[in-house]
Subunit: 317 residues, 2 copies
């Protein structure tokens, strides 16, 4: 059993790579839900959808999110009628949100409707939201608080981030299947997602940190920072403004208590010693995923790395 | 000031004709809302939308409802994901439902969001829902009760109708602008809509019947039955199974206390005497609207008919 923690486009690509590499071993992907929000009276779960569309083979290759070839007739018509169109939703994407919103209002859990969507898309790995209770990332800026999507999409991440809160995290219950998967996994992978706003919310829900600390699994992360920069999104600036180092070493320090190994890019080979000084093994490889082959290769390398650490006695706490 | 009562495709076509013929006199169209229902967690108002799309010049000419040239990407995707697709909603049509549902959940009245949609579509006449409170038509059949859309769309009107109820009508408040318009109008037109399930719900809301009985306006109806048959929909069979006569005379009897004149088709010219025996004036004309020109001509004839009755001392109760 393999477990991955994911949020956003990099997390979804890595999840896809792990799905290809782990087959036929069972894979559980635990997905950040703190980006989720209510918009146009629909419940929108951007990270779950990106994982669904990526593993379903229908993701838009140009953006990494949304559906390939999707049209925007509904959104354009909404705009013409005076409605909000600042958050891009394609027509096929609307179907996902409509189905989910209806299911939730009929009493379905987010876990159940996510599983139903995954099945409809022919996805074999188990995709599990971090919690069935809503958690919302709030971004603190010098000018005040912003809801996550207002910061991320509405204001194009232009604000300096001076703090991050996960509203509702203290009352949220970690998804039980997710915790059970971490406890019984051979390997847990923290995907190359933003450590603050993609992985951070998962770790903020009571139970995940404890499960990661006590699991017998080998735990490896893949650095989302390459050459000091985020491959996508504001992680680099966010790390710096919150007092972290925007580097693979900074990532290693953030996850220090939770990982046995860190996968870093060849561009960061010079940082391997500093990371190993923290008691974290390193795998230096080409970590930037540009093609499906890159995903599959990196997935296999990550799982081999974990297996090697395991055969060296790592894990089994 | 002209007022029209409308529901369904025939009602919308007549409203369009009256809009063309009455201009620049103000026109208020009071629309049945008892077909409205919650579906896919959206609030859908079929009769309001048919009036909006028809007066906005975007109605599908083939069906009379829906939007011309609309696509069905969302609905097809929903079906592929296991969602319900028995009720046809085009992509542009979805935008209407999404905007309305969001507005209602934010506290807007149905009146306010209908006005907003009408403005966005460039519609000059005032389109007013019969009530801001939900009313739901329930169809009684030999096999039990059916929600209106389950009967009308889901089961294609195949059931015998042995009774009709308007759930919520007793607690609903007649839309105040609608009542004020009836009270101050020169002419009130009951459009050629199903008298049982389109006009019936309006009359079931406290205030409408009284306003129609006491207004100084000339009140004319246009028969939706031509040659004993409904031009569209199940009105003929419904009239018969509920003990009415499926004819222009049957229509005259149903509206007897509420109208001064009835417009009937040339096919029914032989019924004029029987209708006049009920104390109802008749106008015999080509009442089937196939083109926009038909709508404008019939609208003008209906208004002339009312004006002639008025100059003969009819109305002014």
């Amino acid at each position: 059993m393999i477990v991955a923690l994911a949020g956003g486009v990099g997390g979804a690509k890595m999840a896809h790579g792990l799905a290809m590499a782990s087959d036929p071993a069972p894979l559980t992907i635990i997905v950040n839900t703190a980006d989720d929000f209510d918009h146009l009276d629909l419940r929108i779960c951007p990270d779950i959808d990106t994982v669904l569309y990526t593993l379903g083979g229908i993701a838009n290759p140009a953006t990494g999110w949304g559906i390939a070839g999707d049209t925007r007739i509904v959104l354009d018509t909404l705009r013409d009628l005076g409605g909000e169109d600042w958050f891009m939703i394609g027509d096929r994407d609307f179907a996902t949100h409509i189905l989910r919103t209806q299911a939730l209002s009929q009493g379905s859990t987010l876990t159940a409707i996510t599983a139903r969507l995954a099945t409809a898309l022919g996805i074999v790995p188990k995709i599990v939201p971090m919690s069935d209770q809503p958690v919302a990332t709030i971004i603190e800026t010098p000018d005040g608080s912003l809801d996550f999507q207002a910061y991320f999409v509405g204001r194009q991440q232009r604000d300096e981030v001076v703090g991050v809160r996960f509203q509702g995290a203290e009352g949220a219950i970690a998804q039980p299947d997710a915790i059970a998967a971490i406890r019984t996994a051979e390997a847990v992978v923290i995907n190359p997602s933003n450590p603050i706003v993609s992985i951070g919310p998962i770790l903020a829900v009571d139970g995940y940190r404890q499960a990661l600390e006590s699991t017998a699994a080998v735990r490896v992360a893949v650095s989302p920072i390459v050459g000091g920069k985020a491959l996508k999104g504001p992680a680099d600036r966010m790390l710096t403004s919150l007092g972290h180092e925007s580097s693979a070493v900074g990532i290693a320090r953030i996850y220090a208590e939770l990982i046995d190994g860190l996968v870093i890019d060849t561009a960061d080979a010079g940082l391997a010693d500093a990371i190993e000084d923290l008691g974290i093994a390193t795998l230096v490889t080409k970590s930037v995923m540009q093609s499906n082959d890159d995903r599959a290769r990196l997935g296999a390398e990550v799982l081999d790395f974990a297996a090697n650490l395991r055969s060296n006695g790592v894990g089994r706490r």
